[in-house]
Symmetry: C2
Subunit: 339 residues, 2 copies
C-alpha cells in the first residue's frame, strides 16, 4: 500500500504531515509513502524518523497552493504544486490514494480534472464520518454540490454506502435521506424523487426513508444523504454546538471552588467522554465518485488527526471502494426501471 501525501498542505505542514505519516506507519508497518513537497523542508523532518525515511520517497517541488488561492487560479498556476503532483500519482496509479490538508476547493477542482468521475457518476461528493450516540455515521455531500437533482442524491446514497461498508465495518449499513419531516409528502421535489428511486432500486441496499436533523447525532442511520448546501450547514452547525457545549461545561466546572474540586475528581471520566467526540478521531473526508482515492484532512489538524486521515485512505483503498461503486451503479442502470 503506497500513499501519496501533499506534504505542504495544512496549517502545520509539513511538520504535522511527516509526524502524522510516522504515526500512521507505527500502526501500519507495511505502508509506503510518497511525500510531495519541498525536499529542503521535508528531509530534516524525515531524519528524525528512521523507519519512515526508509519507507518514503520524496517528490520534490517548491510550488504550493495556498488557502487563499481560488480553485480556478490554483488549476492554472498550480501545475507543479505539491497538491497537483500528489493527485497525479493517483492518476498514474503510482499511489493507491492521496491525502492532503490543503485548500478544499482547489483540491476538488484539481482532482476532478485529473481523475474524472467514475462511470455512471455525474458529480463527486465530499463524504466524511462523524460521531453519534451509537458510534459513527457517514454523511454526504458536505459541500461540493450546493444544488442536487434526485439522480445526484441517489448516486450519493450508493457511494456513501460503499464508504460506510469500508469504514464502519458493517455489511449492510442503513441509509437515510435528510428531510424536514418523515412523511412521504415532506420537503422538496429532488428529495422526494430520490426517496422513490432508493425505495425501488434493485441494488441490495438498506434504505430506511427520511430522517430529520436530530437523527444525525442520534445515529438513527449509518449513512446520511443530503445535498451539499444542507450537508455543509448541518455539519458546521453540529460542530459549533458541540464546541459551545464543551465551553459551557468548562465554564461550569471552573466557576466555583467546589466545582473545581469536583471536576478534578470527575476528570478521568470526562476525558474518556471528550475522547469520543475528539474531531481528530473522525478526520478524513473522501472526494467520492472520482477514479481514484483522494482524502482531505482538515487544515487545522495536528499529526494525530492527519494520521487518522491516512487511516481512512488505507481503509478505502483496501476495500476497493471505487470498484464497489462502479458495480452497484452499473447494476442499477441495468436493472432499475426509469422513474
Amino acid at each position: 500500500m503506497k500513499i501519496a501525501l501533499d506534504a505542504m498542505g495544512g496549517d502545520y505542514a509539513p511538520k504535522a504531515v511527516i509526524r502524522g505519516a510516522n504515526f500512521a506507519l507505527s500502526r501500519n508497518p507495511d505502508l509506503e509513502f510518497l511525500l510531495v513537497g519541498n525536499e529542503s523542508e521535508i528531509r530534516p523532518l524525515l531524519h528524525k524518523h528512521h523507519k519512515l525515511e526508509q519507507r518514503s520517497q520524496i517528490i520534490h517541488t517548491t510550488d504550493v497552493v495556498t488557502n487563499e488561492d481560488k480553485p480556478s487560479i490554483a488549476l492554472r498556476q498550480g501545475k507543479n504544486s505539491s497538491m497537483q503532483l500528489a493527485i497525479n500519482t493517483v492518476k498514474e496509479k503510482i499511489a493507491d490514494a492521496c491525502v492532503s490538508g490543503g485548500n478544499t476547493g482547489a483540491l476538488m477542482a484539481m482532482a476532478k480534472i485529473a481523475l474524472r468521475t467514475l462511470p455512471g457518476i455525474d458529480r463527486p461528493a465530499i463524504c466524511s464520518l462523524f460521531p453519534t450516540r451509537k458510534g459513527q455515521a457517514v454523511m454526504l455531500d458536505l459541500g461540493a454540490n450546493p444544488e442536487c437533482t434526485a439522480e445526484n442524491l441517489f448516486q450519493f446514497a450508493i457511494m456513501g454506502e460503499a464508504f460506510g461498508v469500508a469504514l464502519l465495518g458493517k455489511k449492510e449499513p442503513t441509509i437515510g435521506l435528510l428531510n424536514i419531516g418523515s412523511e412521504a409528502g415532506k420537503g422538496v421535489d429532488s428529495v422526494r424523487q430520490a426517496s422513490e428511486m432508493l425505495q425501488t432500486t434493485q441494488i441490495p441496499i438498506k434504505y430506511v426513508g427520511f430522517i430529520e436533523g436530530n437523527d444525525i447525532a442520534t445515529g438513527t442511520v449509518d449513512i446520511i444523504v443530503t445535498d451539499g448546501f444542507t450537508g455543509n450547514i448541518a455539519l458546521k452547525t453540529a460542530e459549533g454546538v458541540a464546541k459551545l457545549c464543551g465551553e459551557y461545561i468548562k465554564m461550569g466546572l471552573t466557576s466555583s471552588i467546589f466545582a473545581k474540586v469536583g471536576s478534578m475528581m470527575a476528570k478521568p471520566a470526562l476525558k474518556s467522554i471528550f475522547k469520543k467526540i475528539d474531531p481528530r478521531a473522525h478526520n478524513g473526508a473522501m472526494f467520492l465518485g472520482l477514479n481514484g482515492i483522494i482524502v482531505k484532512s482538515h487544515g487545522g489538524m495536528d499529526h494525530v488527526g492527519f494520521a487518522n486521515a491516512i487511516d481512512v485512505a488505507i481503509h478505502l483503498a483496501k476495500a476497493n471502494i471505487n470498484q464497489r461503486i462502479i458495480d452497484e451503479i452499473g447494476f442499477s442502470s441495468e436493472n432499475d426501471a426509469d422513474l
Copy 2:
C-alpha cells in the same frame, strides 16, 4: 393586553396551558386570557387559580385538531376546533395574539387562510429564538417554506429583524444569510441574490453578509436568515447535538464513584449552565408575515415553557411587530432599485 390560548393544543393540554397562563399572569398582572376549548375540562383547572379565573373568559368548544390530522383535513373539518376559534379571535381583533401548542402544519394552514399575509409579504415564515454563546439569536424560516426565492429571503430578513427588535432588546440587530462559505460567489443563486438585495436596500438594517453553520451557536449575528429546509434541519441538528452532549456529560459524571462525588460538588455550577440552554426558556415560535400574531409553543412543553411562549406573544404585540414590518417593506418597495 388580551391573549387567546388554544387550551387543547399540546401533549399536556389543557393542564400545561392553564398552569402556563397562571405563571405568565404572575409575571404580567395586567394580562387577560381567552381560553378556547372544552369548558368541562378547563373550568376545574381554572378553579385552582383564583386570579387567573377572574381574568379569563372561556370560549367553549369540544372540537380539537389532533397531531395526526393533516393540515388539509384540519382546515375542512376543524372549523369549530379550539385552534381555529383561537385564531379567529385574532382575526376579529378580540385578542392581541394567540398561542397554541397544537399541530404546527394545521396551525399554519388555518392562520394563513384566516389572517392572510401582510401587504408586501409573499409567504409567512416560522421564526424563533435560540441560545448562543452571546445570549440569544433569531432564526427563520424554520420549516414553512422548503424552497425560497431571493425575494422570500429578503422579506424574511426584514421580518426577522422586527422580531429581533421586539425580543432581543437591540435597536439594530445584525443580520446574516446562512451559506456554505463567506465569499461572494458561494452557495446557490437565491442566497447570492438575496445578499445583493440586502446590501443595497435603503431600509436601515445592519446586514453583515454570509455566515456559516458554526456561526449559529457562536452568535456571530442576531438574525439568521435561511430557507425553511435548511433552517429546519440546522435547528434540529443543533437540538440533537446539544441533547447528545448533555447525555455524554451525564454518562461521564456518573461513570465512577469519584466522578459521582465530583459531579455532586459541581452540581450548582452545572445547573446554572443547563439553565442557559433550557429549551423552555426559548420556547415560542412566531408565524411571521401574517395579519396577526400567532405563536406556536412546542407540543411537549410544560407550564414553564408554555408561559414563555405567552411572554413571546406579549413582547411581539407590545412592540407592534407587524406595523414595523409593513412600514419597512413599504419603504423598500418605494425606495429600493429593482435588481
